[in-house]
C-alpha cells in the first residue's frame, strides 16, 4: 500500500539501510536504489535525495560496491555510468550527489577534501557538457532508447550547476578546449563540439577574459574575418572573393592563416578562400592563407603543381581540417622525399574497394557533398603526413596500430604510402614475421573486431589490418618465456626498434622483479649523462602504467618516446606521443604530463625524466649503446622506486 508519499518512503528506505549492520547493508541497498530511481524522475526528487547525500556514506549506500571509496572515482567514467540502463546509473547518480555534498562541505571524507571534490566535479562537468547543455535534437531512435537515462542525467547536472555555478566551469571548459587544441589532433570533432557548447556560455555571466577566449574559438571554426561575417553561407563569401582586390584578399588570407596556426582549426570560409587562391595560382597569398614560414613556402614553391592538384582533390568543406595538415606537411618538407609524390598521385586514381569506399564516405559525412572516396582518402593522408602525432586511436583499444601509423608517417612515409593502397584496393596487407609471411586478409578478429568509426581516413583503412597482424604476431610467440612485445615490436614497427627489451614484471607471475636494475638500465641507455651521450634517434615504443589522479593503478598503455632533451628551463624531459590524444591526464603524486609550455612540439606530451621513469614498465634499448648503469645515483633510483611502489606498485607483488 502506497501511503505517506515519497518523503516517507525515502526516509523509511534510508533509515532501514542506515540502521543495518555493515555486513547486512547488501540486503537493503536494492530497495533504497529503487526509491532513488523513482525520485530521480523529477528535479525536486533529486533535490530530496541530495538532502540525504551527506549521510550516504555513513548509511552504507555504497558499501561493498565500486563506488565505496570516493577517492578512487574517475571523472572520465561518469558519463558512461550515467548512461547505463540499470542499477549502475542510479548508484553513479547518488555518488555524484555525495561528491557535490563534499564540494559544498556538507560532508567530509578523510581522503577527499572539498577542493578535491570541486576539482573532480569541474572535470565531470567539462566532460559532460552534453548533459549541461542538452542538444536540441538528435537521432530520434537514439533518444527513445536512451531517453530516461539521459533525462535523469540532465536533472542531476542541473542540480550540480545550481550548486556549483556555471562560471566555475567556464574557465575549465576553456582550458579543456585549449588543452585538447594544443595537441593538434587530426580529429577535431570533440573540440568543435566543446566550442559550440562554450558558445552557450556567452549568454551567461562569465568573465570578460573568458568571453573573449570563447569568441576567438567560435571564430576559428566559423567566420574569422569581418568580410566572412557578412555571409551566412560560404557560397556568398566565395562569390565576394572575386570582387576583392589583391590587398584585400591578402588581408583575408593573413587572418585565416593566423587563426589556423593558432588553433589548428579550419573554418569552412577558409576552404573557399584557399580554393579560390589555388584556382588563380596566387602563390604568395596562398603562403599567407596557409600560414607558412619561409621553409614551408620554399616547399610550396618547389612542388606547386602537385600542391595545386592536392588542394583541388582533397580540400573540401567536409575535409577542411586537412588544410592544416597540408600546411604542416609543407613545413615538414615531406614532399621532397622521393616516394611521396608518386605515392600521393597514385591515391587520386586508386581503385578503392567498395566496402572501404562506403566506410570512408560514411565516417566522414561526405555523402551528398560531391566528394569521392579518393578525395577523402587523399585528404586523410595529407593530415597524417602533416600531423603524425595528431593520429589518435579514437574509442578503440588500438594504441599499437596508432603508434605504428605515427612512426611511419614520420620516418617512412613511402612505406605508409605503400600500405594504404594495398589495404584500400586489395583488402590485404602483409608483413613478414620471423621468416613467415602474414596476410591480414586471412586473419580473424584482432583487438577491435568492431572498430569505432570516429577515426581519420587512414586509420579507418589501415587499423583493421594492422590490428589483426599485430594480434597474430603476439599469438605466435605467446608461449615463449618472455614478453611477446620483445619480438613483435621490431617486426611490426620496423627495424628502427632496438632489439634489447626490458620489463619490470616477471613474465607469467606479473611480480615486480629487480626494479632498481630496470631503472638503472633505462638511465644507462636513455639518459644522456649515463649513456655516453647517445641521442634517441627513432621513436621508442614503450609501456607505461597509467595511474589515476590519486596514484592508483588504472591500466597498461602503449605510448612512444619521441625524444629526450632539456627543456627551456633546463629540466631533462622525456617527450612522448600518446595515441589517446588526451595526453595531459593527471597521474597523481604531482605527476602531470604537460602538453605545452615545456618545449613540447605539437602533439607531444612531456614529463621530467625521473617522473616518466616512475610510470614506465617496459622499453626497448640498443645493447650497443649502453653506458654505466652503476653511475646512476642511488638517491635517484630510490626516489623513483618510491614513486612506483606508492602508486601502481601497490597493485603488484614486489619480489
Amino acid at each position: 500500500m502506497n501511503t505517506g508519499g515519497e518523503d516517507a518512503t525515502l526516509q523509511e528506505a534510508f533509515e532501514t539501510l542506515n540502521q543495518a549492520a555493515p555486513y547486512a547493508k547488501d540486503m537493503y541497498q536494492n530497495h533504497f536504489f529503487q526509491v532513488a530511481k523513482k525520485l530521480a524522475e523529477s528535479r525536486e526528487g533529486i533535490q530530496k535525495l541530495y538532502d540525504y547525500a551527506p549521510q550516504f556514506h555513513e548509511a552504507g549506500v555504497f558499501e561493498g560496491g565500486p563506488w565505496e571509496d570516493p577517492s578512487k572515482l574517475q571523472p572520465a567514467l561518469v558519463n558512461g555510468s550515467l548512461r547505463v540502463d540499470g542499477l549502475e546509473s542510479i548508484v553513479a547518480l547518488l555518488s555524484e550527489l555525495r561528491m557535490i555534498a563534499l564540494a559544498k562541505e556538507k560532508h567530509t571524507h578523510p581522503e577527499v577534501s572539498a577542493r578535491d571534490a570541486k576539482k573532480y566535479l569541474n572535470e565531470v562537468m567539462a566532460n559532460n557538457l552534453d548533459f549541461i547543455f542538452p542538444e536540441e535534437s538528435g537521432e530520434e531512435a537514439e533518444q527513445q532508447q536512451q531517453g530516461k537515462e539521459t533525462e535523469r542525467a540532465q536533472r542531476l547536472f542541473s542540480l550540480m550547476v545550481d550548486e556549483l555555478s556555471l562560471q566555475s566551469i567556464s574557465s575549465t571548459l576553456i582550458d579543456e578546449i585549449k588543452r585538447l587544441m594544443v595537441q593538434r589532433p587530426i580529429m577535431t570533432e570533440r573540440i568543435r563540439l566543446m566550442i559550440r557548447k562554450a558558445e552557450q556560455l556567452l549568454h551567461e555571466d562569465v568573465e570578460e577574459k573568458d568571453r573573449q577566449e570563447i569568441e576567438r574559438f567560435h571564430q576559428a571554426i566559423s567566420t574569422v574575418t569581418a568580410r566572412s561575417k557578412e555571409h551566412d553561407h560560404v557560397s556568398g563569401y566565395r562569390k565576394q572573393l572575386q570582387d576583392l582586390d589583391k590587398n584585400e584578399r591578402s588581408e583575408e588570407a593573413a587572418a585565416f592563416g593566423e587563426s589556423m596556426r593558432e588553433t589548428g582549426l579550419v573554418s569552412p570560409y577558409h576552404v573557399a578562400l584557399v580554393r579560390f587562391l589555388n584556382r588563380n595560382g596566387e602563390i604568395k597569398t596562398l603562403q599567407k592563407a596557409l600560414g607558412l614560414s619561409n621553409k614551408g613556402y620554399s616547399n610550396l614553391e618547389e612542388h606547386f603543381e602537385t600542391v595545386q592538384e592536392l588542394i583541388k582533390v582533397a580540400i573540401h568543406l567536409p575535409t577542411r581540417q586537412s588544410l592544416y595538415g597540408l600546411a604542416r606537411m609543407l613545413e615538414r618538407g615531406v614532399l621532397s622525399q622521393p616516394p611521396v609524390l608518386p605515392g600521393l598521385r597514385r591515391l587520386i586514381e586508386l581503385d578503392i574497394k567498395q566496402d572501404v569506399r562506403k566506410t570512408l564516405m560514411e565516417a566522414t559525412s561526405s555523402e551528398q557533398e560531391g566528394l569521392t572516396a579518393n578525395d577523402v582518402l587523399t585528404a586523410g593522408v595529407i593530415s597524417v603526413l602533416g600531423q603524425p602525432l595528431g593520429i589518435g586511436q579514437g574509442l578503440n583499444p588500438t594504441c599499437q596500430s596508432a603508434r605504428a601509423l605515427s612512426l611511419w608517417a614520420i620516418h617512412d612515409p613511402g612505406y605508409l604510402l605503400e600500405l594504404i593502397p594495398r589495404a584500400a584496393r586489395d583488402g590485404d596487407i602483409d608483413m613478414t614475421f620471423e621468416g613467415a609471411p602474414i596476410h591480414s586478409e586471412n586473419l580473424p578478429g584482432g583487438l577491435a573486431p568492431e572498430l569505432h568509426k570516429e577515426l581519420d581516413p587512414v586509420s579507418l583503412v589501415l587499423v583493421p589490418h594492422l590490428d589483426r597482424i599485430y594480434a597474430d604476431m603476439v599469438r605466435r610467440v605467446q608461449f615463449r618465456g618472455d614478453d611477446p612485445h620483445k619480438w613483435v615490436n621490431p617486426a611490426f614497427y620496423g627495424d628502427w626498434i632496438a632489439k634489447g627489451f626490458s620489463k619490470v614484471f616477471q613474465h607469467n607471475t606479473q611480480n615486480v622483479v629487480d626494479y632498481r636494475g630496470f631503472v638503472r638500465l633505462f638511465y644507462a641507455t636513455h639518459h644522456r649523462e649515463y649513456n655516453e651521450g647517445h641521442e634517441l634517434i627513432y621513436p621508442n615504443p614503450v609501456g607505461i602504467c597509467v595511474t589515476t589522479v590519486y596514484g592508483n593503478f588504472l591500466g597498461f598503455h602503449a605510448i612512444t618516446i619521441q625524444r629526450i632533451a632539456y627543456d627551456p628551463d633546463d629540466t631533462y624531459r622525456v617527450y612522448f606521443y600518446n595515441p589517446n590524444n588526451d595526453s595531459s591526464q593527471n597521474w597523481g603524486q604531482g605527476i602531470e604530463p604537460s602538453v605545452r609550455g615545456h618545449g613540447e612540439k605539437e602533439g607531444e606530451s612531456s614529463l621530467p625524466f625521473h617522473e616518466f621513469v616512475s610510470r614506465l614498465y617496459a622499453f626497448h634499448y640498443n645493447p650497443y649503446e649502453q653506458g654505466d648503469a652503476f653511475a646512476v645515483e642511488d638517491e635517484k633510483v630510490e626516489e623513483i622506486e618510491r614513486l612506483a611502489r606508492e602508486s601502481w606498485g601497490q597493485k603488484f607483488q614486489w619480489v
Partner: protein
C-alpha cells in the same frame, strides 16, 4: 528484544549462508558461527563475521545423503572445538548436515535418521500416511516401466482407460527443493520423455484444490505460531495471510499440522508443509520441509505480523529458549496487518533487452515495491524448474482482493523484454 547473551554459554552454528539469518542471530545477541561455502570467506573476513568454510558441494558430488552422518565428523570436530551446542539448517540440502552435527552433539544417531524423513519424499509420504494424514496414492519408481504401470493402475482405478483425457500423475525427485525435478504426467508420451538419470523418484496420484503452505514455528512439540500462505498462481505468486475462505479453516489446518507434528515427532524448529484443501474442506498432505521457505514468504510474514521470522526460526530451534521469551515474541495469529503478497518474476526471453514495469502496476493500490533493475547480464541462464527469480514484486493492502488480484493478473506479464 530478547537479551540472552549472558545465560547462553554455547554457540549456535548456522548451517548455510544467509544474510537475514546472520542478521537475526546478531540481533538476538546469541553467540554463533556460520558454516558456509568457501566463496563467502572473503565477505566474512571483510565484516569480521565468525565463519567456517565448508565445501558442501564437494560432498554432494561425491557422497550420498546417508553418508553425511559419517562425513560430518570433521566438521563436528571443528564445531566442538568452537564450543558449538546447536546446529540450525537454513537450506534444503543442509538439513542433514545440521542433523548430523546435532546427532553427534547430543550423542543420538536417531536425530540424523529423523532428518532424512524431510529429505526423502518416499519416506516422508509413508510416515505421513502412517500418522493418519490424508495423502495421494504413491509408489517409488526405479525406471520408466514402474511409471507406466503406476499410471495405468491409477487410470484403471479411475475408470479412465481409453478416454481422451487421462488422470494425471506426478513424478517427483526424492530430494529436491521446490519444483525442481517435478514432472506432471498426462500421457504415456510424457513417460518416454523422463530422463533415465531422474530415477529413482516418487510417483503420486493427482490431488485437487487450493494449495497452501504453512510456516510452523514449533517449540517443545507445541505450535508457537502458525502462518498460512496461499499459493495464488503456483510457482509465481503467494499471499499471507490467506483469503478469508481459507482463513476460516485455520482450526482445521492447525489440526492437520498438529497431526503432522505428532506423526513426525517434531520437537523444535521450523517446518514448511504444503497442503491441498479441496472444495469440501478436505485437507491433503503434499510434502514438508524443515527449512526456511522460498518465495519470500518470510518477508510476507514480517510485513503482516511485524515480527522477524528469521529470529523466530532461531529461537524455536533452540531447546533452551524459554517459554516467556517465546510468549513475548510471537503476536496473535488473528492480528495480521493486512495481506502481503509476492510475485516472482522469471524472464521469458533468452536475452533481456529492457525492463518493462507497467505504470498501472506501480499505481495499483496494492503495489508496495519491486526489486528489478535492468540486469548487467543480459543473457538469461537456463535452469531446471523455475530457477531463481529475476525479481520480485511485493504487494500489501488491508483488503485481500487488492493483493490477490494483481498477483493473479501479473503472473504471466512480461517484465523483461
Amino acid at each position: 528484544m530478547t537479551n540472552t547473551k549472558q545465560d547462553i554459554d554455547y554457540k549456535t552454528a548456522l548451517i548455510g549462508w544467509s544474510l537475514p539469518s546472520i542478521e537475526a542471530m546478531d540481533q538476538l545477541q546469541r553467540p554463533f558461527v556460520i558454516v558456509g561455502p568457501p566463496h563467502f570467506q572473503e565477505y566474512a573476513d571483510k565484516y569480521d563475521l565468525p565463519f567456517i568454510a565448508w565445501d558442501f558441494d564437494h560432498y554432494k558430488e561425491n557422497y550420498s545423503m546417508e553418508d553425511v552422518c559419517d562425513q560430518c565428523e570433521g566438521l563436528y570436530q571443528i564445531l566442538k572445538e568452537e564450543n558449538v551446542g546447536l546446529a540450525i539448517p537454513l537450506f534444503e540440502d543442509t538439513v542433514e548436515w545440521a542433523a548430523g552435527i546435532n546427532a553427534k552433539l547430543q550423542d543420538d544417531p536417531k536425530i540424523f535418521r529423523h532428518s532424512l524423513l524431510f529429505r526423502h519424499k518416499g519416506k516422508m509420504k509413508r510416515r505421513a500416511l502412517m500418522g493418519g494424514l490424508k495423502v495421494g496414492v504413491f509408489e517409488e519408481a526405479e525406471n520408466k516401466e514402474n511409471v507406466r504401470q503406476f499410471f495405468r493402475r491409477v487410470n484403471d482405478a479411475m475408470l479412465r482407460e481409453g478416454e481422451e483425457e487421462l488422470e494425471p500423475i506426478h513424478f517427483k525427485a526424492f530430494d529436491k527443493a521446490g519444483d525442481a525435478g517435478h514432472r506432471v504426467i498426462r500421457s504415456e508420451m510424457d513417460i518416454n520423455q523422463l530422463e533415465d538419470n531422474a530415477f529413482p523418484g516418487l510417483l503420486e496420484s493427482h490431488l485437487d484444490g487450493v494449495e497452501v503452505s504453512c510456516e510452523v514455528f514449533i517449540h517443545n512439540g507445541k505450535i508457537q505460531f502458525l502462518n498460512i500462505t496461499e499459493y495464488i498462481v503456483f510457482g509465481y505468486s503467494m499471499m499471507a495471510p490467506p483469503s478469508p475462505e481459507i482463513e476460516k479453516q485455520r482450526k482445521k489446518i492447525r489440526g492437520a499440522v498438529q497431526r503432522l507434528i505428532n506423526a513426525f515427532d517434531i520437537q523444535y524448529g521450523l517446518i514448511h508443509p504444503e497442503f491441498f484443501i479441496d472444495e469440501e474442506g478436505k485437507i491433503s498432505f503434499i510434502e514438508v520441509a524443515a527449512r526456511i521457505p522460498g518465495g519470500n514468504i518470510f518477508d510476507l510474514i514480517k510485513k503482516t505480523y511485524q515480527f522477524n521470522p528469521f529470529q523466530a526460526h532461531i529461537l524455536c530451534s533452540d531447546p533452551n529458549t524459554t517459554e516467556e521469551e517465546l510468549k513475548d515474541f510471537f503476536p496473535k495469529e488473528k492480528k495480521a496487518r493486512g495481506h502481503a503478497g509476492s510475485l516472482m518474476v522469471y524472464p521469458r526471453v533468452e536475452n533481456i533487452e529492457k525492463l518493462n514495469i507497467p505504470q498501472e502496476l506501480e499505481e495499483h493500490p496494492g503495489f508496495e515495491r519491486h526489486t528489478m533493475f535492468t540486469p548487467v547480464q543480459r543473457k538469461v541462464p537456463e535452469t531446471e524448474g523455475f530457477g531463481n527469480p529475476h525479481g520480485v514484486v511485493f504487494f500489501h493492502h488491508d483488503h485481500h482482493d487488492h493483493v490477490k488480484q494483481p498477483l493473479r493478473d501479473y503472473a504471466d506479464y512480461d517484465f523483461y523484454m
